[in-house]
Each structure stands twice: as C-alpha cells, then as structure tokens.
C-alpha cells in the first residue's frame, strides 16, 4: 500500500493482517498488507495510525498502540521477533494491536503534610490515602479532599474500603503503627465544600506492635490485619449487632464526647516468625499473608490453619492476588524483583514470573481488577511500573515521585494513584486497559 512505499524499499517485506478487539473507530480493514520486516513497535504503530486515518476518520488523532503476536508483546523489531520466536513468514502474519498501556495524563499532585504510605482506589467514586501524620483522607478527585479520618496517634500503614459497592455510607478500615485497627463510616455522596473531620466508630485493639496491613473479606463482614507482632488478627466488622460489645464513652480532645466501640479479635492466626507485612483476602475462607520471614502463607479462615507456604528468600513487603482466575500471587519485598507465583502449579515454589527492572525495594504491587495480565509495582527507587505478563519489560514507567514510593493502587480501572515519601499523591490517568 501507499504506506509501505515511504518505508525502506530494500528490506524484506512480510505479509501481515492487523486485527483488534477495539471498537470500530479504531478498527482497520482486515486485508493483508506487506510491511517492511524491520519495523519496530513505533513503526507498526504509525502504520496502523495511517491506516486508520486513511479509512474514514478525517479528524483522527494518532494513538500509540501495542502489538501482540501469538500472545506476546512485540518489544523488538518485527524481524528479530519472528526469528527469536521461530515464526514462519510464509503465511500471512496476524498482528493484534491494542492501545498502548501508558498514562496519557498526569494529574496535579495532591500534597499532604507528611509521607503518604497507604492508598486505596477500589471505589470508583473516591479514593483513600493514609498518611504518616496519623490522618486518613478521602479524596473525591485529585486535589479534592472530602473527609479527614482523625484519631490515630501514629502513622497509618494501610487503608481499605470494606464495602466498595455500598450505597450511602461507606465503611473503611485503617491500620496504624499505634497498634490499632479502626473502622470508619461516612457518606461519600454528601456535597462538601471543605473537608469534614470524622472519627472512627470502632477501634479494634489486640495487636502488640505496629499493624502493617489490612484486608477485607469479600462479603465485608470481617477484616484481617497483619502486624509486627507476627500475628494476623481477624475482626468482626458488624456494627448492627453491637449489643454484646462494650460501649465506652471516651473523652476526645477534652471537649467532644463521642461513643466509640471497641472490638476484640475474633481469632488470631499464628505461624509467622516475623513482621506480617501484607495480607490479602481474595476468597471467603482463604487469607494470604506475606512476611519478613521470607514466606507467603495461605491460611484457612475456618480452622486457622496454615495451608501452604511459599518461601522466596527475601523479606516481603507487599502481596496481591489476581491475574488469571484471580489465583496468581504477586509479591515484592526487600529486593528489586517483583515475583509472581502460581499456587495451582503442583510441587513447585519457584516463581513463574520475575520482573526486575526496579532498582530498590518494592513497596507495593497491585493487580488490575479487570485484566489478567496487568499489574503495577511501586518501589523505593521512586518509580511506579506497569507490567504485562506477556512481556518481561515494563509497559511504562511513571516517574512522578521524587522520593520513595510507599504505596500505589489502581483507580477507576484507568488511573494509577501512588503516594510517596515526598508527601505527594500522584495520579496518572487515562491508561487504556480494556
């Protein structure tokens, strides 16, 4: 076609056909064309863009694309890729293209008073941050803080939403270095001009050291928390049947008298020998936990037994369950390698994927909610990286932080929120993941 003519005429040409799962405006005609074999991703992208432009759209804006051949992302020149993979060029090559996964927009950073060390973006309506000054914040959008969660006496280490789909009132859980887990309630829908300070409705005491992480059961009835005292505590979140719980009148700040419930741990999972740094509760009766004792453990909630261990040799800082069938374990820790295990593979504890583009400790890793392949990782080297399981290179690197990134999460399916030691909350949005 006309596009090929301006490309280098001397090199080999390959018959290809572009296919996509994208919606019609971005669909190219399914005819085979011959393109030079030495095209890279950028070249392929411009080919597709000019095709799209030529077909119908007069006001088409060029778009970066990513290309998949046989389920592998193309990260080198087409020729090299085919040689490496041993794919014949006699047949017409089918290249699938998707929108390149990279943030298109960088929102203004939301400044905090201290290090931001916890974020949660599981609700599309708002996102949460926890800060080293002991305050949790609810943000409607970048720079728009609606609620401030007040009460922790030390840094908040993790924060999560208990009922993401809940109606008027949302329930939150926070953990802190002051050894408590607090549950909060607020109405996200109320229109507010300036941030409203709210207090926890329930304080869960029982840990003997800093609580590092919290995870919510899928039904929202229980939360679990991992702590520096090497235990995982399970807590009830029911606030309807609070008759049996003691109600304590507490004086807060000398003036306000407020009723705060106190709860005790339902059960404790003992087995780790060091700081439990991350917990995840992907199924109703299974808890995964990662610890500084170099292990990832799977717990049965009913019996409180340790079902299986994965040892990785490094102290672990973060853990997330997701990916294909919501079964892959991603974890990062005291080295620059993000490891992914498949617990369904029998008889092996070797990671199935290892991503090692970071240069320092990994502080957070999160699977994308809707994609089996995408996940993000945040590291102390100040970078947030987006990964696709189909290639060993990061899809994109977000370098908006100037210091350690302490936490990161997806938000609304197309944004990445991350907080760091530079007291900033950065939002990178418009990431096209279908």
């Amino acid at each position: 076609m006309d596009m090929d003519d301006d490309a280098e005429g001397t090199s080999r040409r390959i018959q290809v056909r572009f296919v996509t799962k994208l919606k019609p405006p971005l669909k190219v005609p399914a005819t085979a064309i011959a393109i030079p074999a030495n095209l890279t991703r950028f070249g392929l992208s411009s080919v597709v863009n000019s095709l799209l432009e030529a077909t119908d759209n007069p006001d088409y804006k060029p778009e970066p694309f990513d290309f998949l051949i046989d389920g592998e992302l193309v990260r080198m020149s087409l020729e090299e890729f085919l040689v490496v993979k041993g794919i014949s060029v006699e047949k017409i090559l089918e290249i699938e293209y998707t929108k390149a996964v990279a943030p298109r927009k960088e929102e203004d950073p939301s400044l905090h008073d201290d290090w931001v060390c916890a974020v949660d973006g599981s609700s599309p309506r708002f996102f949460l941050t926890g800060c080293y000054d002991g305050l949790g914040r609810v943000w409607k959008n970048a720079g728009l803080c609606t609620h401030i969660l007040e009460g922790h006496s030390d840094a908040i280490t993790s924060i999560t939403i208990i009922n993401p789909e809940g109606g008027e009132t949302s329930t939150l859980a926070t953990t802190s270095k002051d050894r408590t887990v607090r549950l909060w309630k607020f109405n996200p829908e109320e229109a507010i001009d300036h941030p409203v300070k709210i207090r926890a409705f329930k304080i869960l005491r029982g840990h003997k050291a800093s609580v590092q992480s919290v995870a919510v059961q899928t039904s929202g009835e229980m939360v679990c928390s991992g702590s520096w005292d090497c235990t995982i505590n399970l807590w009830q979140t029911h606030f309807d049947t609070d008759g049996d719980l003691s109600i304590k009148k507490r004086k807060v700040g000398g003036q306000v008298e407020e009723s705060q419930l106190e709860g005790e741990a339902v059960s404790t999972l003992v087995g780790h020998t060091q700081n439990v740094s991350a917990v995840a509760w992907p199924l109703r009766d299974t808890i995964y936990s990662a610890s500084w004792d170099h292990s990832v453990r799977k717990w049965d909630v009913e019996t409180g037994k340790d079902l299986s261990d994965i040892f990785c040799g490094k102290a672990l800082n973060c853990l997330d369950i997701g990916g294909e069938g919501s079964a892959l374990i991603a974890a990062g820790g005291s080295d620059p390698v993000l490891r992914i295990w498949d617990p369904r593979k029998p008889g092996t504890s070797a990671p199935v994927f290892q991503f090692s583009s970071h240069t320092s400790w990994i502080s957070a890793c999160k699977w994308h909610d809707n994609s089996w392949f995408h996940l993000l990782s945040a590291s102390y080297d100040g970078k947030v990286m987006l990964w696709d399981l189909r290639t060993a290179w990061p899809l994109s690197v977000i370098e908006s932080h100037s210091d350690k990134v302490l936490c990161a999460d997806w938000w609304k399916g197309d944004s990445v929120i991350s907080g760091g030691a530079d007291s900033k909350l950065c939002i990178s949005s418009e990431i096209p993941i279908q």
């Binding site: 290090w115 060390c117 080293y132 050894r179 003997k208 050291a209 800093s210 520096w228 060091q274 700081n275 500084w292 004792d293 040799g313 490094k314 102290a315 800082n317 005291s334 080295d335 620059p336 320092s360 400790w361 102390y380 350690k404 302490l406 030691a421």
Partner: protein, 761 residues
C-alpha cells in the same frame, strides 16, 4: 718338551759367566760331533739320584758313540775317556770341598776340557775359577783356574797375567795370535764354530754337543734338560675319601646336637644392642635401577656432576631485513636513521638494513672485533646461571573455599539510606525486633529510625557528641542507653503500648536520695533524673566511651578509657543495674587500657577488651577465666559469637582476630583485609545467620561467612563474602559503626558522611 719353567733361570746364569761367542755358528752346524768329552757331570747335577755313581755313569755314557740329538743323558761321549776320568779325579781331588753351582760345573768342565785340549795346564785352575763364580753345590770337581774373583777384568788388561791360580802364582796371558793367523786357524779348524773364548781364564773353550744343545734349548726358551717335566701329574698323597676307618673312632659328642647356651646369650646381647640402637647396620647399597642408555636429553645437563653446560639462548633467525638486498620497505629512510640518533643507545636498533647490489659488494663487518671482545666480556663477567623455577600452579596454593554464591544470603546491595544527621554518625543500635534503629551522631543528636522506610521517628538533642548508643535487648523495654561525654543517658523511646510505657517510666524513675546512700560503695556515679529527656542521667567522672547491655536488660556496663594525661593510668569498667539503680565497680584488677566490654550471650561471663589482650571474667565466681593474647598494638572492638565460644577482635592496625576459646588463647585466624591497613572501627556478628562483618576507616565494610559448627572437632569456617562500598570518606574517616539486623541478613553501616546505610541481601 716341558722344561720351559727352569730354562729361563738357566739361561740367565749361563749368560753371566759365559760369553758365548759363536752361538750363531753353533746353530748353523749342529751336526758336528764334539771332540771333547764333557759333562756327564752336568747331567748328573740335574739328576740328583745319579750323583753318587757318577763315574760309572760317565763310563757307561762314554760307550755310546753318537753325540747327535738323542736322549740328553748319554749323548756326548768322546773318545778320550781315560783322560777325562783322570782329569776328573784330579779335579775332584782339588776342589772337592768347594761348593759350586750346577751350571758352573758345566762351564768349569768345559774350561777344563778346553784347557786340557789347548795348553794342558794344571787342573787346579778350574777349581779356582769355580770358586769365583758359584758356591752353591759342594760337589764341584773342577775348580776355576783364576782366583781373582768377581773383579772387573779390565784391571788386568794391562798386566801380563790374567790373575792368580790357587797357589798364588800368576797366570800368564797367552800370546795373542795375529788376526791372520787366527783366521787361518779358524778356517782350518772345522770345529771353530763351537769354540768360545773365555776371557776370564784367557782361553778358548770348545762347546760340547750337549752344551750346544743346552744353549739351543735355552735360546728357544725351553727347559735346559729335555727330561724335565714342568707339569707332572699331581699325586694327592693325603686323599682319604674312601678311607675305611676315620681318623678317630670316638662317637659324635652330644654337644654338637645341643644349642649352645653361650651363643644364645651372645645373640640375646646382640639383639638388645640392636634394639637399643647401639648397633647399626649399614644400609644396603641401593642398586641403580634401569636407566636410559642414551640419557634423557632434557635433564642430562642437570644430572651430571660436572659443571653443567647451559646452552646459550637461541639467536633470532635472520629475517628479510638481514638480507644483503632487502625489500624496499625494510630499508629505513634517512629521517628514520636520523631519528635513531636521538634515541638512547639501548633503544637504538642494532642493525640497520642496507641494500647492496651483490654479495660481493658487502663490506667486512665493522664491529667484528668489538663484538668478539664484548662476547668474551660477557662470558667472563656474566656467566649464565640456570634459573630454577618452581613449576607450581598458583591456583593450587589457594585454600579451597566454598563459593560465596552458595553461602547466600548475605548483605550485598544498599537499598535504603537513612538521611538526617548533620555530622558523622558514630554509633547505631538496632531494636530487638528489628523494626527500629537508633543512631547517635557527633552533631549531638540521637535519632530513632524506622528500618523499613528510612523515616526518622524521633530525635533528641543531647548537647554533646554521642559516643555510643545501645538499645535494651528486651523487646518490651524500649530504653536506649546513650553515652554522651561523661554522662550515660537512659532514654525512653516512647514506643510500645501503655502498659509497657508504664513499666518503662517506673524503671526510669530515680529517687533523689539514692546517690547519697551509696556514696561509699559506688565510685562517683550519680543517678540523676533527667527531666528534659524523661530519662536517667548517670554522671560518671570520666568520659564514657562504650555502653553495653546484658542480655536480660537489667545490667549494663560502661567503659571509661583513661586518657593518657591522667595521673593514674587506669581505665574503669562499671556495671550498672537499672532496676536497683546501683553501680558496681568490677571486682577485678584491670591490666591494660580497657577499650570495650561485652557480656557473654548466654552465661554470666564478662569480656573486657583491653588494648593488648582480651580478658574473660566469670561474674558469679568473680575470677579471671582466661586471657586471650592478641598481640595487637591497639584493639578497637570486640564481638562475641552467639554460641559464646568464639569471638572476634578488631584492631586499629587493620587486623581482625578470630578466637576460638575452646581451641586456644591464640587467635584461630587472623584476617587482614584492607590494604593498606586502616583502622577497624567495629566488628559485628550476626545473631542467627553465620555472618560477621567489620567496618574500617577506608569507608568499606567487609562481610564474611563465619560458620561455627556444633561439632567440636570441626573448626570454624571463614569465607570472605563481600566488600560493601558506598560510603564516602569524610574528614579522613570512613564507616564508624556497623550492626547487623537482628533477624534479617542485613547490615547497617554508619558513616562519617552523615549517612546510615542498610545493605540487604
């Protein structure tokens, strides 16, 4: 013919007395019969048994006519038997008593006969003559005529006589025939060939047939007498092999069948002597084994005993440039030749290629004489010496150590830095759980850091440079001991829940009256409440350099090294008890300057590291258990292995000593890593991993694998693992402190560059 044995002797003797003039002639004409009778005597002389009846013998002999070469005994019988006999008798009468040799007798006989034949002189001459020559046998009949004895004959040359006969009369010389006459006479005389002139007696002797024969035999080298058998059959007269009767008929004695007691004793004595080593045996000579006949070419020069020939190094084979007409590219241009002049003599090329039209036009080599001379100088002044090179693979000299990769995990890379101090960080201490870390700095601050994130949690201004910080080893007692100048501060870190806080604040409360009571016992240490920092201030009387907690968190020790200027050159080690607010002096006398002290990880044993040695005390029994000699100039730090039997000592001269206290009081291993040696500031041993590390002034930390086996037979294994770099040298100082994370294989290092770094595996 078997007379060779004696013939030689005979010949000699004959040659003495006889001048055989015509022996050659005699040989030419052997056939002619002798006119004179001779010598049965001589024969009889040889054959002893025939002597007695000589006369008869001679008579019988005379009968046989033929003198030809027959049997020796009876050959020469001449006609004049009677005269012979008479002569014989006369002779015997004259010289019977004289002893004379056998052969001489023959001669005398001859001479007599000649004398008889020629001038018929008196027979006594023969005996006289005889006397002069020989005196062997007593049976000589013919005495020699002349009696001058064995004097040179030339004495009588000018005399008219030749000597004297037995009666003293002069024997006149005979008139000499003129030559012509003698010739004629000799021509005429057919027997002339066998005539011999006897100078002694001045007469001519005609040899008999037998004598001629005898002479011939002698000339042939045979025995003079044909009957003589030099090789007779041997008769063994004493052979008694098959003798019927033995010499003695006595039965075999019993002693021949009994082992000898005496011999047995002697054997025992010898055996004992051999055992004692008094008798040594010569070693059997080693026989040369098979060897290469032609030798080994390579080693032949070395083996030989004489001066080894060292072959000269092979000269380079001449190349194209040495050709008389080299290709153009080999010939240097004029500029190049000029540039050679600028070079040093040694660097200049020895040979400059030149081109010649033909071989004929090549001039003589101008340096020939000089080269020869230099070569001679070389040989004379610089003898070649064979260089002995050890053929050892250098790899094989390195001890076998496991690969560091297999000893993971150990700290490798720095991931987290703790920034905030404004001056060199002098000391760090990690909390028991590993969540927090405290540091003291020269900027007069003490800080607490969160290990995980690198966040500074808390900060105290203590005013003076901090020497040492130590976190209480109990996980629920969050108390920090800080040595600042002359004070030791006990600080409440504020961590832990309310109950723990309550406990801590109780511990850190001092009643004001306490110091007054215990003045007599306590050596000038005041326990004061420090309101500013909500802790306790222990005021010492000297600068405190080190603080170390006991494992139970109640006792802690402080070390006050004396400054050199102080009067009493003593250093003090104090032990304080936190719960009772008591201070004790060590109940031992200290030798040397204490630098550091530490408690045994499990037992009530106390280590004091002085500059030169390490002393180990038992606190319960209050006595010195052991003294470990370091031999160091100045020890700087000590760390005890969690097992308690091994300890390492770092020194200011860049050495680290590993002591195995079960093994000996000498260091088990000496590690010298930094090169050039730098002060080692601190050593650290990991509590659970087999790791130890030290940090030095060259701003590197060195991590080692130090495995201590529970099996006592196995010595500790020490493997260098990693050099941790990253700190910068500031004000000439490097890393001032290093501590391991209590639970992870991580190392904290505090540098003079105001940073604390965490090295992770």
């Amino acid at each position: 013919m078997g007379e060779r044995g004696k013939s030689k002797k005979m010949k000699q003797r004959d040659a003495k007395s006889l001048s055989i003039q015509k022996a050659s002639k005699a040989e030419e004409e052997p056939q002619k019969p002798l006119p004179q009778r001779v010598d049965t005597d001589s024969d009889s002389d040889y054959e002893d048994f025939s002597q007695d009846d000589r006369i008869e013998n001679s008579e019988t002999l005379s009968e046989s006519e033929d003198g030809e070469s027959g049997s020796s005994g009876d050959e020469d019988n001449l006609g004049n038997d009677s005269s012979e006999d008479s002569e014989f008798l006369v002779d015997s009468e004259a010289g019977e008593s004289e002893s004379s040799g056998d052969e001489d007798f023959v001669k005398t006989g001859n001479s007599d006969a000649l004398g008889d034949g020629n001038d018929q002189q008196d027979g006594s001459d023969g005996s006289e003559l005889h006397q002069g020559d020989e005196s062997d046998s007593s049976e000589d009949e013919v005495a020699p005529r002349n009696t001058i004895g064995d004097v040179p004959l030339k004495w009588y040359e000018d005399e008219p006589h030749i000597g004297y006969d037995i009666k003293g009369k002069k024997i006149k010389k005979k008139e000499k025939q003129d030559k012509l006459g003698s010739f004629l006479a000799s021509v005429d005389d057919s027997k002339n060939w066998r005539k011999v002139y006897d100078e002694y007696n001045d007469e001519e002797v005609e040899l008999t047939k037998e004598e001629v024969k005898l002479v011939r035999r002698l000339l042939k080298g045979q025995a003079p007498h044909s009957e003589f058998d030099p090789y007779p059959e041997y008769v063994d007269w004493f052979k008694w092999d098959d003798a019927k009767h033995p010499l003695s008929n006595a039965p075999e004695p019993k002693r021949r069948f009994i082992p000898s007691k005496w011999e047995a004793k002697k054997v025992v004595r010898y055996v004992r002597a051999i055992r004692k080593g008094l008798i040594t045996f010569d070693k059997p000579k080693e026989e040369d084994g098979p060897y290469l006949l032609w030798g080994d070419d390579s080693g032949s020069t070395e083996k030989s005993n004489h001066l080894a020939y060292i072959p000269a190094p092979k000269p380079k084979i001449p190349g194209h440039e040495e050709s008389y007409n080299p290709p153009l590219e080999y010939i240097p241009t004029q500029e190049e030749i000029d540039s050679y002049q600028l070079m040093y003599e040694e660097d200049r090329p020895k040979f400059i290629p030149k081109s010649f039209k033909s071989l004929r036009s090549i001039p003589a080599y101008e340096n020939a004489v000089k080269d020869c001379f230099e070569r001679c100088l070389d040989l004379y002044l610089c003898p070649r010496v064979r260089k002995k090179r050890l053929n050892i693979d250098p790899e094989s000299l390195i001890p076998k150590l496991p690969n560091p990769k297999s000893l993971k995990p150990y700290p490798e890379t720095c991931y987290i830095e703790y920034k905030g101090h404004e001056d060199a960080v002098t000391s760090i201490s990690v909390e028991a759980s590993g969540q927090w870390m405290a540091s003291g700095s020269s900027d007069g601050t003490v800080r607490i850091w969160e290990v995980e994130t690198g966040r500074c949690l808390r900060r105290w201004e203590v005013g003076e440079a901090v020497n040492c910080v130590a976190w209480n080893p109990l996980p629920d007692v969050h108390i920090l001991a800080v040595s600042v100048g002359q004070d030791v501060l006990l600080l409440n870190t504020g961590l832990g829940d309310e109950e723990e806080q309550k406990k801590i604040s109780e511990l850190l409360h001092v009643e004001t009256s306490a110091p007054d009571d215990s003045d007599s016992k306590t050596p000038n240490v005041n326990w004061l409440q420090d309101n500013k920092h909500e802790g306790i201030r222990l005021r010492h009387f000297k600068t405190v350099s080190a603080v170390e907690w006991h494992r139970k968190g109640d006792y802690f020790s402080t070390v006050m090294p004396s400054d050199i200027l102080s009067v009493c050159c003593l250093s003090f080690v104090l032990i304080h008890q936190l719960s009772k607010k008591l201070t004790q002096k060590l109940p031992f006398k200290l030798h040397g300057l204490a630098v550091k002290s530490t408690f045994h990880p499990t037992r009530s044993i106390f280590f004091i590291c002085t500059k030169k040695s390490v002393r180990v005390y038992d606190l319960l029994k209050t006595k010195l258990i052991k003294k470990l000699d370091t031999g160091l100039r100045e020890a700087s730090s000590i760390a005890v292995h969690p097992g308690g039997d091994n300890l390492i000592v770092g020194s200011k001269d860049g050495k680290v000593y590993w002591f195995d206290m079960d093994l000996s009081s000498k260091p088990y291993e000496v590690l010298k890593y930094p090169d050039p040696p730098k002060d080692i500031n601190n050593v650290a041993i990991h509590r659970s991993y087999p790791l130890f590390a030290w940090c030095s002034e060259d701003s590197n930390a060195y991590v080692f694998h130090g495995m201590v086996y529970s099996d006592l037979n196995e010595n500790p294994l020490i493997v260098p693992l990693q050099t941790l770099r990253g700190h910068k040298r500031t004000n000439g100082r490097g890393i001032l402190d290093c501590k391991f994370h209590p639970r992870q294989p991580w190392l904290f290092t505090a540098g003079a560059d105001k940073l604390i770094k965490l090295f992770c595996h």
